[in-house]
C-alpha cells in the first residue's frame, strides 16, 4: 500500500519534473499577425524596397533594425489607410530613389534604362554596315586590272603546259 503511494508520488514527481522541463524548453509562441491581409500587402510592398543597411536585401527579407523600423512604419501607415503609392512617396522623400529596387524612369536614369538597348541597336547597325561593306570590298578585290589579268592568263598557260 505504502509502496503504491510511493510509486504514485514518484510518478507525480517525475511528471511535474517533465512538465517543468517543458516550460524551460518551450518559448512563448510568437503571436500571429493580427491582420493577415495587411501583412500580405506589407510583404508585397516590402519585396520591392531595399534595406539601406544590407543593400542587397529587401525590406521584407532583412532582419536589420532599419528594416524592422521601416516595416513597422509601413504597417502603421497601412492601418491609417494610406495607399501603397503614398507610402512609397513617403519613403522616397526621406531615403531617395535608392530605397526602390526598381529605379524610376526619369531623365537622370534614362541612360540606365535605355543604355543597353541603345548599345544593342548601335552594335546591330555597325554589324550590318560592316557586313555589307565587307561584301563590297570582296567584289572590288575580285575585279582584276588588265595587268593582273595578263599575268593570270600567262600563269594558267604555264600550268596547262605542265
Amino acid at each position: 500500500m505504502s509502496t503504491d503511494l510511493l510509486k504514485y508520488c514518484l510518478i507525480a514527481l517525475a511528471l511535474s519534473f517533465f512538465s517543468f522541463q517543458g516550460n524551460l524548453y518551450a518559448n512563448e509562441a510568437v503571436p500571429v499577425a493580427e491582420d493577415l491581409e495587411l501583412e500580405k500587402r506589407l510583404n508585397k510592398l516590402a519585396e520591392n524596397l531595399r534595406c539601406l543597411v544590407c543593400q542587397n536585401e529587401t525590406l521584407a527579407a532583412s532582419r536589420a533594425d532599419f528594416s524592422v523600423d521601416m516595416r513597422n512604419e509601413i504597417r502603421e501607415q497601412m492601418k491609417m489607410n494610406k495607399s501603397d503609392e503614398e507610402i512609397i512617396d513617403f519613403l522616397v522623400a526621406r531615403y531617395g530613389d535608392f530605397i526602390l529596387f526598381n529605379p524610376p524612369f526619369k531623365p537622370t536614369t534614362w541612360l540606365l534604362w535605355l543604355g543597353p538597348f541603345t548599345l544593342l541597336l548601335v552594335g546591330g547597325f555597325a554589324l550590318i554596315f560592316y557586313l555589307k561593306h565587307r561584301g563590297r570590298t570582296k567584289e572590288a578585290e575580285l575585279t582584276l586590272t588588265d595587268k593582273e589579268r595578263l599575268r593570270a592568263e600567262s600563269l594558267i598557260k604555264e600550268m596547262d603546259k605542265d
Binding site: 539601406l52 543597411v53 532599419f66 523600423d69 522616397v92 522623400a93 526621406r94 531615403y95 531617395g96 535608392f98
Partner: protein, 173 residues
C-alpha cells in the same frame, strides 16, 4: 586608324567604370539636401520636462548629430565633436536615437558632452523623417532652416576641415 573608334569607346567605358570605383555604395545620397529640415518637437535628454523644437534654431547655423550610447562608431567621432564644441564656431545639437535615458546620460558623463542640448528620439520616428539609416549621421542646417549637408558615418577632423567648417563659415557670412 580603324581601331580609333573602338579604342575611344573602350576609354569612355574605362572612365565611367573608374568613376564608379571611387563611389562608396554605403553612402546613400540624401534627397533632403537643400530641403527644409523636418520639424521636430522633442524632450530634452537632461531635463525631460523641457522640449526643444527644430524651429527654435531658425536664424542660426547649427549642426544636428545623431548619436546613441549603443553605437560604436559614435565613440570614434565623439572626441572630434568635443574639440569642435570647445572652438565655439557652431552649436551642435544631439539627437539621441533609440537609446535609454540613463545610459545616454552616463555616456555623456564618461566621454564629455559636446552638445548644446540633446533631444530624445526614443522610437526613432524623427530619425525616419531625417532619413537616418545608421548612426552616427550629422546634418548642417542653415539660418533658413534648410539642410545644406549630410555627413554619413563618424565625423573626422579631415571631414571637418575639408568640407563642414568651410561650408559653415560660408553659411554664417
Amino acid at each position: 586608324m580603324r581601331f580609333l573608334l573602338p579604342l575611344g569607346i573602350f576609354l569612355v567605358l574605362v572612365i565611367f567604370l573608374g568613376i564608379g570605383l571611387t563611389l562608396n555604395p554605403r553612402q546613400v545620397p540624401s534627397p533632403l539636401i537643400d530641403k527644409p529640415a523636418p520639424v521636430f518637437q522633442l524632450h530634452q535628454l537632461e531635463d525631460p520636462s523641457k522640449t526643444i523644437s527644430s524651429e527654435d534654431n531658425l536664424g542660426k547655423v547649427w549642426m544636428l548629430n545623431v548619436w546613441a550610447s549603443w553605437c560604436v562608431a559614435c565613440r570614434d567621432e565623439h572626441p572630434v565633436l568635443v574639440e569642435l564644441s570647445k572652438l565655439g564656431i557652431v552649436p551642435v545639437y544631439g539627437l539621441n536615437y533609440k537609446d535609454q535615458r540613463d545610459t545616454a546620460m552616463q555616456w555623456l558623463k564618461q566621454f564629455g558632452n559636446p552638445y548644446e542640448v540633446s533631444v530624445v528620439d526614443a522610437d526613432g520616428k524623427v530619425g525616419i523623417d531625417y532619413g537616418v539609416y545608421g548612426v552616427p549621421e550629422t546634418y548642417v542646417i542653415d539660418k533658413q532652416g534648410v539642410i545644406r549637408y549630410k555627413h554619413i558615418g563618424p565625423v573626422t577632423v579631415q571631414s571637418l576641415t575639408d568640407k563642414i567648417l568651410p561650408l559653415i563659415n560660408e553659411l554664417k557670412s
